[in-house]
Amino acid sequence: MTMRRFAQNLLIVCAMAAVSSFAFGQKDPGVRGGIQNTGGGLQQQGIPIPHPPVISRNPTTGATINENELASFLEGILRAGQLESSCDDCADVTDGSQVTGLGELDPMFPQFHTNSNGLGARHNSDQCFSCHGQPTLGGSGGFLVPNPSDKTPRMAENPQFHLIPHRYGRQNIVPSFEKQYGPIREVRFKNKPDGTPDGGVHQLWTVRGSTNDPTIPNCALTQPDFEKEYKAGNLAFRIPLQMTGLGLLESIQDREIIAQHDATAGLRATLGITGHPNRSGNDGTITRFGWKAQNKSITIFAGEAYNVEMGITNEAFPTATEEDPDCQGPSKPEPNDVVRTDTTEIRNQEFDNPLHIMPDWQQFQILMRFTDGPTPDPNPSESAKRGKALFSDIGCALCHTPQMQTAPVMNSAVLQNRPVNAYTDLMVHHMGYKLADDISQGQAGPDEFRTTPLWGVGQRIFFMHDGRTADLLRTIREHHSEASPKYPASEANGVVHRFNRLSAEEQQSILDFLRSL
């Protein structure tokens, strides 16, 4: 066959494939509303990213968020939006202030003026919402404009590609796994150099070179050799989960989780789905936050995130991950972010008032508690409605439990006794070698993951724990994994087989349904 004939045939094959894909092929419709109209896509157009939604009226009781809860929620937005400087008193504006009159797009989410202090010598980010901004602040990982102080914004991109590693002149080398339009990734090392298990987060960035901290001129920290570890297959990635609705998930009692699980035991058995809770080693109750359901509460999560993601020590995690005195500043107190009890204005950084006594990390957990769950499409298509039924019919709902109920009596009236449509059983399941990340957390083994809540999946950009894909169809198929010498087969195999046997139109309906969530 001549090259010309080959090229002609190839063209025909490609054209046929394109036509058949158009006519019959199922396709992820993409982020609901479009990436350009959510998260950083809005920022790129000069529109601030929407703030986290306040928890909605309790559909069972009619209770709404009360005045004190709302005040704490609003304060929480302010704290979670703070841009952190690394020393103890060199923020551009008074700690905890909104940044107004200085050209910031959103006074509550400044991008080039710091309004807080405490960034650790090693960190993954310098601001909560940098990694939780899709589709709204408080959401999952998305994109941000990389040049926020310039008049002409560039296209929104992964903030780990340029914005965070280089903000305020910081001299960080961006590892190759942080792609410009890829997912925000944090890194765990599977093993230590001696071959024993590691499993911990290794923070991406250092404060070396910071132009806004005169107290650390001699900081010479270097980053771990991520490229070497990457090539050696020693990295496990995690992408940011959404914070929205976490108060509702926390309000579900263990007995509800177990009852829902037991109710599907027969059906699950026919498909080889088991699942089990990850339980606290302290009190034996079910832990439920994080990719492996490793965190007990959003308070623990908040404390851990402040220290691990931003290097900000606090009452829950009081020890710095990096204690190099050349990079922590001579006057920076440890732990850094604590309940303020100073009585004078000199040492208390404007905390001389009741509203500001609570530390940032605590306000952050209150914010998470009273942020509403993601709102599904109020007008789903007919295809999406069919997909909802199919989703249950083929067994997806056996793990992605559509609804659970919060505790009947709680301190907060808006949280108690209400349905939670999170599409998760809050259990961990064996997912096979293809997804296994070789990291164990609590009772979640190296190939086990929590059933990811699907609420909000309609407006997420990246999927799976490592953000390996932005395509929901591939995401479904990644649930399938045969047994390997190291790991059993994925518990989802039976359901994925059923999905694969559906017609293209039916598969499309499931994709449409998922994007309606």
């Binding site: 929407p50 703030h51 709302l70 304060e75 008074t94 909104q98 940044v99 107004t100 006074p107 204005e345």
Partner: protein
């Protein structure tokens, strides 16, 4: 069980059994218990509407209410949700058509106007309350003749005016103007400069980074952690209390006390005609102090300041290396520096 059924049952008891002397006490007791249980439920009327708005530009919300309470608060983007609730005190003629007769709601894109006029038939006989859930990017102009206002969690700017009633605002990112004839003003966490004035009432402000001009004809002023600010009490014994002034500060009272506890970050001018002025400054501080006192008393309780003679009418001293200028003056009051 309907109210009409209960009413007719009660009427039957009254007309038939009360004639019987034996039954009368029991029936009367039952009626009393029933009427308490029924609680003389007051007539109510409700209104609910949700309007779609875009993210592309701010929402501009104009509110004009003759009489009623208004709560504007951030809830979520993409919609403005308006809930109205009216409750009558007695036989007011309030019915389900109340809001359709009294409320005008206009929307032109993201510009929303709500006007509530009180129909004469029920004026003064009912309580009206509005809760308006808005996106963060909302500008608010709210004018209430008689009633309370609460505005929370919006970008702003916010203008709130009232005849009689309190104004509360918190977590406003842009500027705020609050004016009331008679009522208190309570402000927390405002991103830009604030102007607050009341003829009769107190003004409180916390975390006003860009400061406040607070003026009350007759009332107290309390400020905590504020930028460059002015606080004036026009007459009477209203007090001024400032903790954590972050910039220039000008305060004056007539007969009320004036207390400032802060690190000097700007020049201060503190005056009271006849009240007590007390300054609590950090143990170590740099400033230039200028005190004048026509007929009152000056007390210095700091080691880094020399004590004036008992008849001293003016004290000028440099403390530390000198710095911000603190001027304190009174006609007949007492001045204490700590």
């Amino acid at each position: 069980m309907s109210r009409s059924f209960l009413k007719s049952t009660a009427k039957r008891i009254l007309t038939s059994h009360l004639r019987d002397a034996n039954v009368r006490p029991v029936a009367l007791a039952l009626i009393m218990v029933a009427s308490v249980a029924l609680g003389e439920r007051k007539p109510t009327s409700e209104f609910q509407r949700t309007l779609a708005v875009t993210n592309a530009e701010p929402v501009v919300l104009n509110i004009e209410i003759i009489s009623g309470d208004v709560e504007v608060l951030y809830s979520r983007d993409g919609q403005v949700s308006i809930a109205g609730f009216a409750q009558a005190d007695g036989d007011s003629g309030l019915d389900d058509n109340y809001f359709s007769a009294s409320l005008t709601l206009d929307q032109a894109g993201n510009r929303i106007t709500l006007r509530h006029s009180d129909p004469g038939a029920v004026q003064g006989k009912l309580r009206v309350r509005y809760r308006i859930d808005v996106p963060y990017r909302t500008e608010v102009v709210c004018i209430v003749n008689r009633g309370r206002q609460s505005i929370r969690g919006v970008l702003g700017p916010v203008t709130a005016k009232a005849g009689i009633g309190d104004i509360k605002a918190s977590y406003i990112s842009k500027g705020l103007q609050a004016e009331v004839e008679s009522g208190n003003i309570d402000l927390q966490v405002i991103g830009e400069h604030v102007e607050a004035g009341t003829n009769r009432g107190n003004i409180t402000g916390e975390r006003l980074a860009h400061g406040i001009d607070a003026r009350t004809g007759d009332g107290d002023v309390s400020l905590i952690v504020v930028g460059p600010s002015t606080a004036v009490v026009g007459k009477g014994n209203g007090r001024i209390e400032v903790g954590g002034a972050r910039g220039a500060l000008t305060c004056s009272t007539e007969g009320g006390d004036l207390h400032v506890q802060a690190v000097p970050h700007g020049n201060w001018k503190l005056n009271s005609a006849s009240g007590v002025i007390r300054l609590d400054l950090p143990p170590v501080a740099n400033f230039d102090l200028d005190i004048s006192d026509d007929s009152g008393e000056i007390q210095i309780e700091r080691d880094d300041l020399s004590k004036p003679s008992s008849d001293a009418r003016r004290v000028s001293q440099r403390v530390g290396g000198g710095g911000e200028r603190i001027e304190v003056g009174t006609v007949s009051g007492r001045i204490t520096i700590r």
